[in-house]
Point group: C2
């Protein structure tokens, strides 16, 4: 349950409206913790009820822009949450289910899906490489920059790992020497 904490962090960086947060709330946040605007508005209301953030306008200001900012209590809550342990999320991908099922009920033309996935990971890798070149000319400038660059490198590694696997998978599925 880290959406509220992602929002707190984004608002500590700089006050923003709900819609600004919803538009992938930050160059870096949106890539690894996306959320719909409905989710974000709900969480913002909860964070306000808990006294962690505040805005000028009162509740149910439909149509009127509300700019949110984090309070001191919000900052404390975030700092306490950061070092908490939680279990590693397991690899959970329908593609693995499809492959495993394909091993049982025989060839089904899965190759096209693999190629589509490969393309999407290649595109994302190119996007991340563009961000790296543009936003991190000096990644060791200070601690904050170094950690942001580290998070971006996680994305680069993630896409690279998938591209490697999918290339491997296409080789196996298209191998005429099998089956």
């Amino acid at each position: 349950m880290s959406l509220p904490h992602a929002l707190l962090a984004a608002l500590l960086e700089r006050p923003r409206s709900g819609l600004a947060l919803a538009r992938q709330f930050d160059k870096s946040f949106g890539h690894f913790w996306s959320a719909s605007h409905q989710q974000i508005y709900r969480e913002l209301s909860r964070l306000e009820a808990d006294g962690l953030i505040a805005s000028e306008a009162e509740a149910d200001a439909r149509g009127r822009k509300r700019t949110w900012r984090a309070l001191a209590a919000g900052r404390d809550e975030l700092r306490a949450w950061i070092p908490r342990d939680d279990p590693a999320p397991s690899l959970r991908d329908t593609l693995m289910v499809r492959l495993r099922a394909e091993a049982i009920v025989g060839p089904t033309g899965l190759e096209a899906t693999l190629r589509a996935r490969l393309k999407s990971h290649e595109d994302k890798l190119a996007l991340y490489q563009g961000i790296e070149a543009r936003d991190f000319p000096d990644p060791r400038k200070d601690r904050a920059t170094a950690v942001q660059h580290l998070v971006l490198r996680a994305g680069l590694r993630h896409e690279t790992y998938w591209i490697g696997f999918l290339t491997d998978a296409l080789t196996v599925l298209c191998d005429p020497g099998l089956g």
Copy 2:
């Protein structure tokens, strides 16, 4: 929504009871698509209602073992589902939120969490390597074996990628030349 299809695949391989499926329903399935027994029993009921699987005993046989098997319609449904496209799941990990937040509100002692995560990925990698050595002496024996081995290799790649990233991350966070 691939749990029902994972169950169909497992039952096509060999009929099983709900509990047997719940105990990570298969050496290979459980590692990349886990599910609680409550979820599994609910899905089994739905699959039965849809005429895709069947068992001998009638419904609400509390305490009595029910062995499920897939029907022909279940096999058809699975074969039709396998090649369907769905979007690549994005990197979604609370650790990325923690790191990104750490870049904003300063050092918080996140290193211990990173070391714990590193340990858990190293353990899982060793587990997968053991499975590979034991169950895949000849990974190119036939198409089914080759695809199962491929899925295992995804797991190996996944753990390797995380170990690389976490090692990198510890270097950055513990670097005295920053911050």
